[in-house]
Protein backbone atom coordinates (compact mmCIF):
# COMPACT_ATOMS: atom_id res chain seq x y z
CA UNK A 1 0.00 0.00 0.00
CA UNK A 2 1.25 3.46 -0.78
CA UNK A 3 2.07 5.98 1.88
CA UNK A 4 -0.80 8.13 0.68
CA UNK A 5 -3.40 5.49 1.51
CA UNK A 6 -2.02 4.98 4.98
CA UNK A 7 -2.02 8.67 5.76
CA UNK A 8 -5.80 8.80 5.96
CA UNK A 9 -6.68 9.69 9.50
CA UNK A 10 -9.96 9.03 11.21
CA UNK A 11 -12.43 11.34 9.51
CA UNK A 12 -13.99 13.74 11.96
CA UNK A 13 -17.54 13.30 10.83
CA UNK A 14 -19.94 12.83 13.71
CA UNK A 15 -22.97 11.20 12.10
CA UNK A 16 -25.44 13.11 14.26
CA UNK A 17 -24.30 16.40 12.83
CA UNK A 18 -24.00 15.11 9.30
CA UNK A 19 -26.93 17.18 8.06
CA UNK A 20 -25.27 20.41 9.21
CA UNK A 21 -22.04 19.46 7.48
CA UNK A 22 -23.86 18.74 4.25
CA UNK A 23 -25.49 22.13 4.33
CA UNK A 24 -22.10 23.70 4.96
CA UNK A 25 -20.74 22.18 1.76
CA UNK A 26 -23.20 24.23 -0.24
CA UNK A 27 -22.28 27.49 1.47
CA UNK A 28 -18.66 27.51 0.26
CA UNK A 29 -18.17 29.46 -3.00
CA UNK A 30 -16.90 26.39 -4.86
CA UNK A 31 -19.79 24.28 -3.54
CA UNK A 32 -22.36 26.83 -4.72
CA UNK A 33 -20.84 27.31 -8.18
CA UNK A 34 -20.42 23.54 -8.54
CA UNK A 35 -24.04 22.96 -7.56
CA UNK A 36 -25.31 25.57 -10.03
CA UNK A 37 -23.20 24.12 -12.88
CA UNK A 38 -24.33 20.58 -12.14
CA UNK A 39 -27.97 21.72 -11.95
CA UNK A 40 -27.57 23.30 -15.41
CA UNK A 41 -25.89 20.19 -16.83
CA UNK A 42 -28.52 17.91 -15.32
CA UNK A 43 -31.39 20.01 -16.70
CA UNK A 44 -29.86 19.93 -20.20
CA UNK A 45 -29.35 16.17 -19.95
CA UNK A 46 -32.92 15.66 -18.72
CA UNK A 47 -34.26 17.75 -21.61
CA UNK A 48 -32.63 15.27 -23.97
CA UNK A 49 -33.74 12.27 -21.91
CA UNK A 50 -37.44 13.25 -21.99
CA UNK A 51 -37.25 14.34 -25.63
CA UNK A 52 -37.87 18.10 -25.29
CA UNK A 53 -36.50 20.23 -28.14
CA UNK A 54 -35.11 19.02 -31.44
CA UNK A 55 -34.42 15.38 -32.25
CA UNK A 56 -30.65 14.79 -31.85
CA UNK A 57 -30.77 12.03 -34.47
CA UNK A 58 -32.81 13.88 -37.13
CA UNK A 59 -30.67 14.31 -40.23
CA UNK A 60 -31.20 17.09 -42.76
CA UNK A 61 -28.54 17.01 -45.45
CA UNK A 62 -29.81 20.33 -46.87
CA UNK A 63 -28.89 21.99 -43.57
CA UNK A 64 -25.49 20.31 -43.06
CA UNK A 65 -22.63 22.30 -41.53
CA UNK A 66 -24.60 25.49 -40.87
CA UNK A 67 -23.27 28.10 -38.48
CA UNK A 68 -25.17 29.19 -35.38
CA UNK A 69 -28.60 30.62 -36.16
CA UNK A 70 -32.03 31.14 -34.61
CA UNK A 71 -33.20 27.64 -35.49
CA UNK A 72 -29.87 25.96 -34.67
CA UNK A 73 -28.30 27.85 -31.72
CA UNK A 74 -24.92 26.16 -32.03
CA UNK A 75 -25.08 25.24 -35.70
CA UNK A 76 -25.45 21.84 -37.37
CA UNK A 77 -23.03 18.98 -37.94
CA UNK A 78 -22.01 17.18 -41.13
CA UNK A 79 -25.36 15.34 -41.28
CA UNK A 80 -27.38 18.48 -40.59
CA UNK A 81 -28.18 17.39 -37.06
CA UNK A 82 -28.79 20.13 -34.48
CA UNK A 83 -25.62 20.48 -32.37
CA UNK A 84 -27.43 21.81 -29.30
CA UNK A 85 -29.76 18.82 -29.25
CA UNK A 86 -26.78 16.49 -29.66
CA UNK A 87 -24.86 18.23 -26.87
CA UNK A 88 -27.84 17.68 -24.53
CA UNK A 89 -28.03 14.03 -25.61
CA UNK A 90 -24.26 13.76 -25.22
CA UNK A 91 -24.45 15.15 -21.69
CA UNK A 92 -27.18 12.63 -20.89
CA UNK A 93 -24.89 9.88 -22.20
CA UNK A 94 -21.91 11.20 -20.20
CA UNK A 95 -23.95 11.33 -16.99
CA UNK A 96 -25.42 7.88 -17.61
CA UNK A 97 -22.00 6.28 -18.17
CA UNK A 98 -20.50 8.17 -15.22
CA UNK A 99 -23.31 7.27 -12.80
CA UNK A 100 -23.35 3.58 -13.75
CA UNK A 101 -19.56 3.21 -13.71
CA UNK A 102 -19.00 5.09 -10.46
CA UNK A 103 -21.87 3.26 -8.73
CA UNK A 104 -20.42 -0.12 -9.70
CA UNK A 105 -16.85 0.95 -8.83
CA UNK A 106 -17.90 2.50 -5.50
CA UNK A 107 -20.00 -0.45 -4.31
CA UNK A 108 -17.44 -3.05 -5.40
CA UNK A 109 -14.37 -1.09 -4.32
CA UNK A 110 -15.74 0.03 -0.96
CA UNK A 111 -16.88 -3.50 -0.09
CA UNK A 112 -13.45 -4.93 -0.97
CA UNK A 113 -11.65 -2.09 0.80
CA UNK A 114 -13.55 -2.14 4.10
CA UNK A 115 -13.59 -5.94 4.30
CA UNK A 116 -9.85 -6.07 3.58
CA UNK A 117 -9.06 -3.33 6.09
CA UNK A 118 -11.32 -4.76 8.78
CA UNK A 119 -10.53 -8.47 8.54
CA UNK A 120 -6.88 -8.10 7.45
CA UNK A 121 -5.02 -11.37 6.79
CA UNK A 122 -5.22 -13.22 3.49
CA UNK A 123 -8.20 -11.20 2.26
CA UNK A 124 -6.24 -7.97 2.71
CA UNK A 125 -3.29 -9.36 0.79
CA UNK A 126 -5.44 -10.59 -2.09
CA UNK A 127 -7.23 -7.25 -2.36
CA UNK A 128 -3.83 -5.55 -2.16
CA UNK A 129 -2.49 -7.55 -5.10
CA UNK A 130 -5.65 -6.93 -7.17
CA UNK A 131 -5.48 -3.17 -6.59
CA UNK A 132 -1.73 -3.10 -7.32
CA UNK A 133 -2.25 -4.98 -10.59
CA UNK A 134 -5.07 -2.69 -11.72
CA UNK A 135 -3.02 0.36 -10.72
CA UNK A 136 -0.14 -0.93 -12.85
CA UNK A 137 -1.98 0.15 -16.01
CA UNK A 138 -2.36 3.82 -16.88
CA UNK A 139 -6.11 4.29 -16.34
CA UNK A 140 -7.03 5.39 -19.86
CA UNK A 141 -5.02 2.53 -21.37
CA UNK A 142 -6.77 -0.07 -19.19
CA UNK A 143 -10.20 1.39 -19.95
CA UNK A 144 -9.30 1.42 -23.65
CA UNK A 145 -8.10 -2.19 -23.65
CA UNK A 146 -11.22 -3.35 -21.81
CA UNK A 147 -13.66 -1.30 -23.88
CA UNK A 148 -12.02 -2.34 -27.15
CA UNK A 149 -12.11 -6.05 -26.38
CA UNK A 150 -15.74 -6.09 -25.21
CA UNK A 151 -18.78 -5.71 -27.42
CA UNK A 152 -19.17 -1.99 -28.04
CA UNK A 153 -22.01 -0.25 -26.21
CA UNK A 154 -22.38 2.50 -23.62
CA UNK A 155 -22.78 -0.17 -20.94
CA UNK A 156 -19.47 -1.91 -21.70
CA UNK A 157 -17.77 1.49 -21.67
CA UNK A 158 -19.28 2.08 -18.22
CA UNK A 159 -18.10 -1.34 -17.01
CA UNK A 160 -14.59 -0.76 -18.37
CA UNK A 161 -14.42 2.56 -16.50
CA UNK A 162 -15.81 0.88 -13.37
CA UNK A 163 -13.02 -1.72 -13.40
CA UNK A 164 -10.43 1.07 -13.65
CA UNK A 165 -11.86 3.05 -10.72
CA UNK A 166 -12.68 0.11 -8.47
CA UNK A 167 -9.17 -0.09 -6.92
CA UNK A 168 -9.23 3.63 -6.12
CA UNK A 169 -12.35 3.14 -4.00
CA UNK A 170 -10.84 0.04 -2.40
CA UNK A 171 -7.78 2.06 -1.32
CA UNK A 172 -9.70 5.12 -0.18
CA UNK A 173 -12.06 2.96 1.91
CA UNK A 174 -9.38 0.68 3.37
CA UNK A 175 -7.14 3.40 4.82
CA UNK A 176 -9.51 4.88 7.42
CA UNK A 177 -10.92 1.44 8.32
CA UNK A 178 -7.43 0.42 9.49
CA UNK A 179 -7.59 3.17 12.13
CA UNK A 180 -11.30 2.90 12.87
CA UNK A 181 -11.20 -0.79 13.71
CA UNK A 182 -9.35 0.14 16.90
CA UNK A 183 -11.69 3.03 17.77
CA UNK A 184 -13.30 2.66 21.18
CA UNK A 185 -16.88 2.74 19.97
CA UNK A 186 -16.11 -0.03 17.50
CA UNK A 187 -14.51 -2.13 20.22
CA UNK A 188 -17.49 -1.33 22.47
CA UNK A 189 -19.98 -2.50 19.86
CA UNK A 190 -18.11 -5.78 19.56
CA UNK A 191 -17.91 -6.06 23.35
CA UNK A 192 -21.68 -5.78 23.80
CA UNK A 193 -22.11 -8.74 21.49
CA UNK A 194 -22.57 -7.22 18.05
CA UNK A 195 -21.21 -9.46 15.32
CA UNK A 196 -18.11 -8.13 13.60
CA UNK A 197 -19.91 -7.85 10.28
CA UNK A 198 -22.78 -5.78 11.67
CA UNK A 199 -20.28 -3.58 13.55
CA UNK A 200 -18.50 -2.99 10.27
CA UNK A 201 -21.63 -1.85 8.47
CA UNK A 202 -23.31 0.00 11.37
CA UNK A 203 -20.36 1.72 13.01
CA UNK A 204 -17.39 1.75 10.66
CA UNK A 205 -18.99 2.37 7.26
CA UNK A 206 -21.03 5.45 8.31
CA UNK A 207 -17.85 7.07 9.54
CA UNK A 208 -16.07 6.89 6.21
CA UNK A 209 -19.08 8.09 4.21
CA UNK A 210 -17.76 11.66 4.15
CA UNK A 211 -14.54 10.67 2.41
CA UNK A 212 -16.45 8.37 0.07
CA UNK A 213 -18.91 11.08 -1.00
CA UNK A 214 -16.01 13.34 -1.97
CA UNK A 215 -14.38 10.46 -3.86
CA UNK A 216 -17.64 9.68 -5.70
CA UNK A 217 -18.00 13.30 -6.82
CA UNK A 218 -14.43 13.50 -8.11
CA UNK A 219 -14.69 10.06 -9.75
CA UNK A 220 -17.80 11.17 -11.62
CA UNK A 221 -15.75 13.92 -13.25
CA UNK A 222 -12.94 11.51 -14.15
CA UNK A 223 -15.46 9.03 -15.55
CA UNK A 224 -16.95 11.75 -17.77
CA UNK A 225 -13.45 12.62 -19.01
CA UNK A 226 -12.55 8.97 -19.62
CA UNK A 227 -15.77 8.26 -21.52
CA UNK A 228 -15.16 11.36 -23.63
CA UNK A 229 -11.55 10.35 -24.34
CA UNK A 230 -12.63 6.82 -25.33
CA UNK A 231 -15.36 8.16 -27.61
CA UNK A 232 -12.90 10.65 -29.09
CA UNK A 233 -10.57 7.76 -29.94
CA UNK A 234 -13.43 5.80 -31.48
CA UNK A 235 -13.69 3.13 -28.77
CA UNK A 236 -16.39 4.68 -26.59
CA UNK A 237 -20.12 5.10 -26.98
CA UNK A 238 -20.83 3.87 -30.54
CA UNK A 239 -22.42 6.22 -33.10
CA UNK A 240 -25.03 7.28 -34.07
CA UNK A 241 -25.67 7.87 -30.35
CA UNK A 242 -24.42 11.30 -29.34
CA UNK A 243 -21.29 11.48 -27.18
CA UNK A 244 -19.32 14.60 -26.32
CA UNK A 245 -15.98 12.97 -27.16
CA UNK A 246 -17.25 11.78 -30.53
CA UNK A 247 -18.58 15.28 -31.28
CA UNK A 248 -15.19 16.83 -30.44
CA UNK A 249 -13.54 14.33 -32.79
CA UNK A 250 -15.93 15.16 -35.64
CA UNK A 251 -15.45 18.87 -34.98
CA UNK A 252 -11.67 18.54 -35.07
CA UNK A 253 -11.67 16.79 -38.43
CA UNK A 254 -14.03 19.44 -39.85
CA UNK A 255 -12.46 22.42 -38.10
CA UNK A 256 -11.36 24.09 -41.35
CA UNK A 257 -14.92 24.28 -42.73
CA UNK A 258 -17.01 24.38 -39.54
CA UNK A 259 -14.99 25.77 -36.60
CA UNK A 260 -18.15 26.41 -34.52
CA UNK A 261 -18.76 22.66 -34.16
CA UNK A 262 -16.06 22.44 -31.48
CA UNK A 263 -17.57 25.11 -29.24
CA UNK A 264 -20.72 23.55 -27.76
CA UNK A 265 -19.47 20.02 -26.98
CA UNK A 266 -16.17 21.42 -25.63
CA UNK A 267 -17.88 23.91 -23.34
CA UNK A 268 -20.43 21.33 -22.18
CA UNK A 269 -17.66 18.90 -21.30
CA UNK A 270 -15.70 21.53 -19.36
CA UNK A 271 -18.82 22.76 -17.51
CA UNK A 272 -19.72 19.25 -16.38
CA UNK A 273 -16.20 18.43 -15.21
CA UNK A 274 -15.55 21.82 -13.56
CA UNK A 275 -18.96 21.56 -11.87
CA UNK A 276 -18.20 18.15 -10.39
CA UNK A 277 -14.67 19.15 -9.34
CA UNK A 278 -15.97 22.31 -7.59
CA UNK A 279 -18.72 20.33 -5.92
CA UNK A 280 -16.11 17.82 -4.75
CA UNK A 281 -13.99 20.66 -3.40
CA UNK A 282 -16.94 22.10 -1.47
CA UNK A 283 -17.86 18.70 -0.08
CA UNK A 284 -14.26 18.02 0.91
CA UNK A 285 -14.02 21.30 2.79
CA UNK A 286 -17.19 20.42 4.70
CA UNK A 287 -16.89 16.67 5.21
CA UNK A 288 -13.16 16.03 5.38
CA UNK A 289 -11.80 18.90 7.45
CA UNK A 290 -8.24 17.65 7.53
CA UNK A 291 -8.08 17.59 3.76
CA UNK A 292 -6.37 14.22 3.94
CA UNK A 293 -8.09 13.07 0.80
CA UNK A 294 -5.67 13.83 -2.01
Amino acid sequence: MSAAADMHGVPEVPTTRAAGRWAKAFRTPSGIVGLVLMALVTVLALLAAVGVGQDPAAQDVQAALQGPSGSHWFGTDQFGRDIFARVCAGLANSLRVALVSVTVAAIGGVLLGILAGYYQGVLDRVVGVITNVLFAFPSLLLALALAATLHRSWLTVAIAIAVVYLPIFARVARGPVLTLRHAEYVLAATAVGRSRLSTLFEHVLPNILGILVVQVTLSLSWAILTEAALSFLGFGTPPPAASLGGMVYAAQTLSSVAPWMLFAPGVALILAVVGLNLLGDGLRAALDPRGTNQ
Partner: protein, 322 residues
Protein backbone atom coordinates in the same frame (compact mmCIF):
# COMPACT_ATOMS: atom_id res chain seq x y z
CA UNK B 1 3.62 -8.94 2.69
CA UNK B 2 5.68 -10.58 5.38
CA UNK B 3 6.93 -13.21 2.95
CA UNK B 4 9.34 -10.73 1.44
CA UNK B 5 11.20 -9.83 4.56
CA UNK B 6 10.99 -6.89 6.90
CA UNK B 7 13.04 -4.33 5.05
CA UNK B 8 10.67 -1.89 3.36
CA UNK B 9 12.69 -1.76 0.14
CA UNK B 10 12.86 -5.55 -0.10
CA UNK B 11 9.13 -5.67 0.60
CA UNK B 12 8.52 -3.08 -2.10
CA UNK B 13 10.50 -5.16 -4.61
CA UNK B 14 8.54 -8.28 -3.65
CA UNK B 15 5.28 -6.40 -4.07
CA UNK B 16 6.39 -5.20 -7.51
CA UNK B 17 7.27 -8.77 -8.52
CA UNK B 18 3.83 -10.06 -7.49
CA UNK B 19 2.23 -7.13 -9.31
CA UNK B 20 4.16 -7.93 -12.50
CA UNK B 21 2.94 -11.54 -12.44
CA UNK B 22 -0.61 -10.26 -12.01
CA UNK B 23 -0.09 -7.77 -14.82
CA UNK B 24 1.04 -10.53 -17.19
CA UNK B 25 -1.98 -12.69 -16.29
CA UNK B 26 -4.42 -9.82 -16.79
CA UNK B 27 -2.82 -8.87 -20.12
CA UNK B 28 -2.98 -12.50 -21.24
CA UNK B 29 -6.63 -12.83 -20.22
CA UNK B 30 -7.48 -9.58 -22.03
CA UNK B 31 -6.43 -11.13 -25.31
CA UNK B 32 -8.39 -14.30 -24.61
CA UNK B 33 -11.68 -12.47 -24.22
CA UNK B 34 -11.28 -10.56 -27.45
CA UNK B 35 -14.42 -11.06 -29.55
CA UNK B 36 -13.47 -13.71 -32.05
CA UNK B 37 -10.23 -15.55 -31.50
CA UNK B 38 -6.95 -15.12 -33.33
CA UNK B 39 -8.17 -17.20 -36.26
CA UNK B 40 -11.14 -14.91 -36.87
CA UNK B 41 -8.86 -11.93 -36.33
CA UNK B 42 -6.41 -13.21 -38.94
CA UNK B 43 -8.87 -14.50 -41.56
CA UNK B 44 -11.88 -12.24 -41.00
CA UNK B 45 -15.18 -13.51 -42.40
CA UNK B 46 -13.29 -16.21 -44.34
CA UNK B 47 -12.86 -18.00 -41.00
CA UNK B 48 -16.50 -19.09 -41.32
CA UNK B 49 -15.73 -21.03 -44.51
CA UNK B 50 -12.92 -23.10 -42.97
CA UNK B 51 -13.48 -26.85 -42.81
CA UNK B 52 -13.26 -28.55 -39.37
CA UNK B 53 -9.87 -30.00 -40.36
CA UNK B 54 -8.50 -26.63 -41.43
CA UNK B 55 -9.81 -25.08 -38.23
CA UNK B 56 -8.09 -27.78 -36.17
CA UNK B 57 -4.81 -27.27 -38.00
CA UNK B 58 -5.00 -23.53 -37.44
CA UNK B 59 -5.85 -24.02 -33.77
CA UNK B 60 -2.74 -26.17 -33.43
CA UNK B 61 -0.74 -23.52 -35.35
CA UNK B 62 -1.81 -20.74 -33.01
CA UNK B 63 -1.58 -23.05 -30.02
CA UNK B 64 -5.15 -22.32 -28.95
CA UNK B 65 -6.01 -26.03 -28.58
CA UNK B 66 -3.71 -26.35 -25.59
CA UNK B 67 -4.87 -25.83 -21.99
CA UNK B 68 -4.97 -22.17 -20.90
CA UNK B 69 -2.17 -22.57 -18.39
CA UNK B 70 0.32 -24.00 -20.87
CA UNK B 71 -0.67 -21.32 -23.39
CA UNK B 72 0.01 -18.67 -20.75
CA UNK B 73 3.35 -20.19 -19.77
CA UNK B 74 4.38 -20.52 -23.43
CA UNK B 75 3.46 -16.88 -24.08
CA UNK B 76 5.22 -15.71 -20.92
CA UNK B 77 8.33 -17.71 -21.84
CA UNK B 78 8.37 -16.03 -25.24
CA UNK B 79 7.92 -12.58 -23.72
CA UNK B 80 10.73 -13.14 -21.21
CA UNK B 81 13.12 -14.11 -24.01
CA UNK B 82 12.24 -10.97 -25.95
CA UNK B 83 9.74 -12.53 -28.36
CA UNK B 84 6.84 -10.07 -28.20
CA UNK B 85 5.20 -11.33 -31.37
CA UNK B 86 5.03 -10.07 -34.94
CA UNK B 87 2.62 -7.65 -36.58
CA UNK B 88 0.74 -9.37 -39.39
CA UNK B 89 0.22 -6.07 -41.23
CA UNK B 90 3.75 -4.67 -41.23
CA UNK B 91 5.62 -7.96 -40.64
CA UNK B 92 7.76 -6.12 -38.06
CA UNK B 93 8.41 -7.68 -34.69
CA UNK B 94 6.71 -5.92 -31.80
CA UNK B 95 10.12 -5.63 -30.16
CA UNK B 96 11.52 -3.57 -33.04
CA UNK B 97 8.29 -1.54 -33.32
CA UNK B 98 8.59 -0.76 -29.61
CA UNK B 99 12.27 0.11 -29.95
CA UNK B 100 11.21 2.74 -32.51
CA UNK B 101 8.14 4.11 -30.75
CA UNK B 102 9.28 4.13 -27.12
CA UNK B 103 12.01 6.81 -27.48
CA UNK B 104 9.43 9.18 -29.01
CA UNK B 105 7.10 8.68 -26.05
CA UNK B 106 9.93 9.05 -23.53
CA UNK B 107 11.04 12.28 -25.22
CA UNK B 108 7.48 13.61 -25.13
CA UNK B 109 7.10 12.62 -21.48
CA UNK B 110 10.38 14.28 -20.48
CA UNK B 111 9.45 17.52 -22.26
CA UNK B 112 5.98 17.43 -20.72
CA UNK B 113 7.39 16.91 -17.21
CA UNK B 114 9.78 19.84 -17.72
CA UNK B 115 6.89 22.09 -18.78
CA UNK B 116 4.72 20.76 -15.94
CA UNK B 117 7.44 21.50 -13.37
CA UNK B 118 8.13 24.93 -14.88
CA UNK B 119 4.45 25.81 -14.48
CA UNK B 120 3.63 23.89 -11.31
CA UNK B 121 6.52 24.69 -8.93
CA UNK B 122 6.45 28.51 -9.27
CA UNK B 123 2.65 28.36 -9.18
CA UNK B 124 2.72 26.30 -6.00
CA UNK B 125 5.28 28.64 -4.41
CA UNK B 126 3.17 31.65 -5.33
CA UNK B 127 0.04 30.02 -3.89
CA UNK B 128 1.79 29.00 -0.68
CA UNK B 129 3.34 32.43 -0.12
CA UNK B 130 -0.03 33.90 0.93
CA UNK B 131 -2.33 30.96 1.75
CA UNK B 132 -6.03 31.78 1.47
CA UNK B 133 -5.42 35.15 -0.16
CA UNK B 134 -6.11 36.29 -3.70
CA UNK B 135 -3.04 34.78 -5.37
CA UNK B 136 -3.73 31.45 -3.68
CA UNK B 137 -7.37 31.49 -4.76
CA UNK B 138 -6.43 32.42 -8.32
CA UNK B 139 -3.86 29.64 -8.64
CA UNK B 140 -6.31 27.15 -7.12
CA UNK B 141 -9.04 28.10 -9.59
CA UNK B 142 -6.58 28.07 -12.50
CA UNK B 143 -5.32 24.63 -11.60
CA UNK B 144 -8.88 23.34 -11.15
CA UNK B 145 -9.81 24.59 -14.62
CA UNK B 146 -6.60 23.14 -16.11
CA UNK B 147 -7.46 19.85 -14.46
CA UNK B 148 -10.96 19.94 -15.93
CA UNK B 149 -10.04 20.62 -19.55
CA UNK B 150 -9.40 17.22 -21.10
CA UNK B 151 -6.07 17.07 -22.93
CA UNK B 152 -7.72 15.87 -26.14
CA UNK B 153 -9.99 18.90 -26.17
CA UNK B 154 -7.09 21.29 -25.59
CA UNK B 155 -5.09 19.47 -28.26
CA UNK B 156 -7.99 19.59 -30.72
CA UNK B 157 -8.55 23.31 -30.15
CA UNK B 158 -4.85 24.20 -30.34
CA UNK B 159 -4.11 22.08 -33.40
CA UNK B 160 -7.14 23.25 -35.39
CA UNK B 161 -6.41 26.87 -34.48
CA UNK B 162 -2.80 26.56 -35.62
CA UNK B 163 -3.63 24.80 -38.84
CA UNK B 164 -6.58 27.00 -39.84
CA UNK B 165 -5.66 30.42 -38.51
CA UNK B 166 -1.89 30.52 -38.23
CA UNK B 167 -1.21 28.04 -41.00
CA UNK B 168 1.56 26.40 -38.97
CA UNK B 169 1.62 22.65 -39.31
CA UNK B 170 5.04 21.20 -38.42
CA UNK B 171 3.73 17.64 -38.93
CA UNK B 172 2.99 18.27 -42.60
CA UNK B 173 5.87 16.24 -43.98
CA UNK B 174 5.70 13.42 -41.49
CA UNK B 175 7.33 12.83 -38.16
CA UNK B 176 11.11 13.28 -37.71
CA UNK B 177 12.91 11.79 -34.74
CA UNK B 178 15.19 13.85 -32.54
CA UNK B 179 18.31 12.36 -34.14
CA UNK B 180 17.06 12.79 -37.72
CA UNK B 181 16.14 16.46 -37.52
CA UNK B 182 16.38 18.00 -34.03
CA UNK B 183 14.96 21.38 -35.07
CA UNK B 184 11.86 20.02 -36.76
CA UNK B 185 11.43 17.35 -34.09
CA UNK B 186 11.30 19.93 -31.32
CA UNK B 187 8.80 22.00 -33.32
CA UNK B 188 6.64 18.89 -33.68
CA UNK B 189 6.97 18.08 -29.98
CA UNK B 190 6.33 21.62 -28.70
CA UNK B 191 2.53 21.62 -28.76
CA UNK B 192 1.90 18.06 -27.59
CA UNK B 193 4.40 18.60 -24.76
CA UNK B 194 2.70 21.87 -23.85
CA UNK B 195 -0.74 20.25 -23.81
CA UNK B 196 0.49 17.39 -21.61
CA UNK B 197 2.53 19.78 -19.45
CA UNK B 198 -0.59 21.85 -18.77
CA UNK B 199 -2.51 18.73 -17.81
CA UNK B 200 0.12 17.57 -15.29
CA UNK B 201 0.90 21.02 -13.86
CA UNK B 202 -2.11 21.09 -11.47
CA UNK B 203 -1.09 18.04 -9.38
CA UNK B 204 2.50 19.36 -9.26
CA UNK B 205 1.22 22.78 -8.17
CA UNK B 206 -0.98 21.27 -5.46
CA UNK B 207 1.84 19.06 -4.17
CA UNK B 208 4.30 21.97 -4.09
CA UNK B 209 1.82 24.19 -2.27
CA UNK B 210 0.96 21.55 0.33
CA UNK B 211 4.63 20.62 0.86
CA UNK B 212 5.74 24.24 1.34
CA UNK B 213 2.94 24.87 3.83
CA UNK B 214 3.95 21.76 5.80
CA UNK B 215 7.68 22.51 5.73
CA UNK B 216 7.16 26.15 6.71
CA UNK B 217 5.78 25.18 10.09
CA UNK B 218 8.60 22.70 10.83
CA UNK B 219 10.82 23.29 13.83
CA UNK B 220 13.98 23.56 11.76
CA UNK B 221 12.52 26.42 9.77
CA UNK B 222 11.65 28.22 13.00
CA UNK B 223 15.20 27.57 14.25
CA UNK B 224 16.63 28.95 11.02
CA UNK B 225 14.45 32.03 11.38
CA UNK B 226 15.55 32.44 15.00
CA UNK B 227 19.16 32.18 13.91
CA UNK B 228 18.52 35.16 11.67
CA UNK B 229 18.32 33.39 8.32
CA UNK B 230 15.84 35.24 6.20
CA UNK B 231 14.72 36.15 2.76
CA UNK B 232 15.76 34.16 -0.25
CA UNK B 233 18.18 31.91 1.65
CA UNK B 234 15.44 30.72 4.00
CA UNK B 235 12.96 30.25 1.17
CA UNK B 236 15.31 28.30 -1.08
CA UNK B 237 17.73 26.42 1.20
CA UNK B 238 15.48 25.62 4.11
CA UNK B 239 11.97 25.50 2.70
CA UNK B 240 12.05 24.76 -1.03
CA UNK B 241 14.75 22.11 -0.86
CA UNK B 242 12.82 20.07 1.66
CA UNK B 243 9.48 20.73 0.02
CA UNK B 244 10.71 19.40 -3.31
CA UNK B 245 10.92 15.80 -2.06
CA UNK B 246 7.19 15.03 -2.47
CA UNK B 247 7.24 17.01 -5.73
CA UNK B 248 9.88 14.63 -7.09
CA UNK B 249 7.68 11.68 -6.13
CA UNK B 250 4.69 13.27 -7.81
CA UNK B 251 6.75 13.92 -10.97
CA UNK B 252 7.83 10.28 -11.03
CA UNK B 253 4.20 9.15 -10.84
CA UNK B 254 3.26 11.60 -13.59
CA UNK B 255 6.13 10.37 -15.76
CA UNK B 256 4.91 6.80 -15.43
CA UNK B 257 1.41 7.98 -16.28
CA UNK B 258 2.66 9.85 -19.37
CA UNK B 259 4.32 6.72 -20.79
CA UNK B 260 0.89 5.23 -21.38
CA UNK B 261 -1.46 8.11 -20.85
CA UNK B 262 -0.10 10.27 -23.64
CA UNK B 263 -1.87 8.17 -26.26
CA UNK B 264 -4.62 10.67 -27.03
CA UNK B 265 -2.15 13.48 -27.57
CA UNK B 266 0.13 11.21 -29.60
CA UNK B 267 -2.86 10.33 -31.77
CA UNK B 268 -3.92 13.95 -32.36
CA UNK B 269 -0.43 15.24 -33.13
CA UNK B 270 0.53 12.11 -35.11
CA UNK B 271 3.54 11.26 -32.96
CA UNK B 272 4.46 7.60 -33.51
CA UNK B 273 4.82 6.79 -29.83
CA UNK B 274 3.96 3.70 -27.85
CA UNK B 275 0.40 4.81 -27.11
CA UNK B 276 -0.26 5.22 -30.82
CA UNK B 277 1.13 1.71 -31.34
CA UNK B 278 -1.65 0.40 -29.08
CA UNK B 279 -4.31 2.42 -30.90
CA UNK B 280 -3.11 1.33 -34.34
CA UNK B 281 -3.04 -2.27 -33.13
CA UNK B 282 -6.62 -1.98 -31.91
CA UNK B 283 -7.75 -0.38 -35.17
CA UNK B 284 -6.07 -3.11 -37.27
CA UNK B 285 -7.26 -5.82 -34.85
CA UNK B 286 -3.64 -6.83 -34.26
CA UNK B 287 -4.28 -8.14 -30.78
CA UNK B 288 -0.80 -9.66 -30.39
CA UNK B 289 0.68 -6.18 -30.91
CA UNK B 290 -1.81 -4.65 -28.48
CA UNK B 291 -1.17 -7.31 -25.86
CA UNK B 292 2.62 -7.03 -25.94
CA UNK B 293 2.60 -3.23 -26.08
CA UNK B 294 0.16 -2.94 -23.17
CA UNK B 295 2.38 -5.33 -21.24
CA UNK B 296 5.48 -3.24 -22.00
CA UNK B 297 3.71 -0.07 -20.84
CA UNK B 298 2.44 -1.67 -17.63
CA UNK B 299 5.85 -3.13 -16.80
CA UNK B 300 7.49 0.26 -17.32
CA UNK B 301 4.80 1.89 -15.20
CA UNK B 302 5.47 -0.55 -12.33
CA UNK B 303 9.23 -0.10 -12.64
CA UNK B 304 9.07 3.71 -12.76
CA UNK B 305 6.86 3.73 -9.67
CA UNK B 306 9.22 1.33 -7.90
CA UNK B 307 12.20 3.48 -8.82
CA UNK B 308 10.43 6.63 -7.62
CA UNK B 309 9.62 4.96 -4.34
CA UNK B 310 13.17 3.73 -3.79
CA UNK B 311 14.65 7.12 -4.77
CA UNK B 312 12.25 8.79 -2.36
CA UNK B 313 13.61 6.66 0.46
CA UNK B 314 17.17 7.55 -0.53
CA UNK B 315 16.48 11.27 -0.73
CA UNK B 316 14.45 11.53 2.46
CA UNK B 317 16.20 9.88 5.42
CA UNK B 318 13.07 10.24 7.57
CA UNK B 319 11.23 7.67 5.47
CA UNK B 320 14.10 5.24 5.95
CA UNK B 321 13.92 5.55 9.72
CA UNK B 322 10.19 4.89 9.77
Amino acid sequence: MGAFGRHPVARRFGEAAVTLVGVSILTFVLLRVVPGDQITAAYGTAAGDLSPEQLQALEAYYGVNEPLLSQYLGWLGGVLTGNLGVSATSHLSVLSMTAQSLPNTVELAVLAIMIGLALGIPGGMLAASRPGRARDQISQVTSLVALSVPSFLLAAVVSSWLVNTVGWYPNGEGYRTLSEDPGLNLQQMLLPALVLGISIAPPILQTTRAAILTVRSEDYVRTARAKGVSGRRLQVRHILRNALIPVVTMSGLQFGFLLGGALVVEQIFAIPGIGRQVLLGLEQKEYAVVQSTVLVIAVMFVLVNLLTDVLYRLVDPRVRVQ
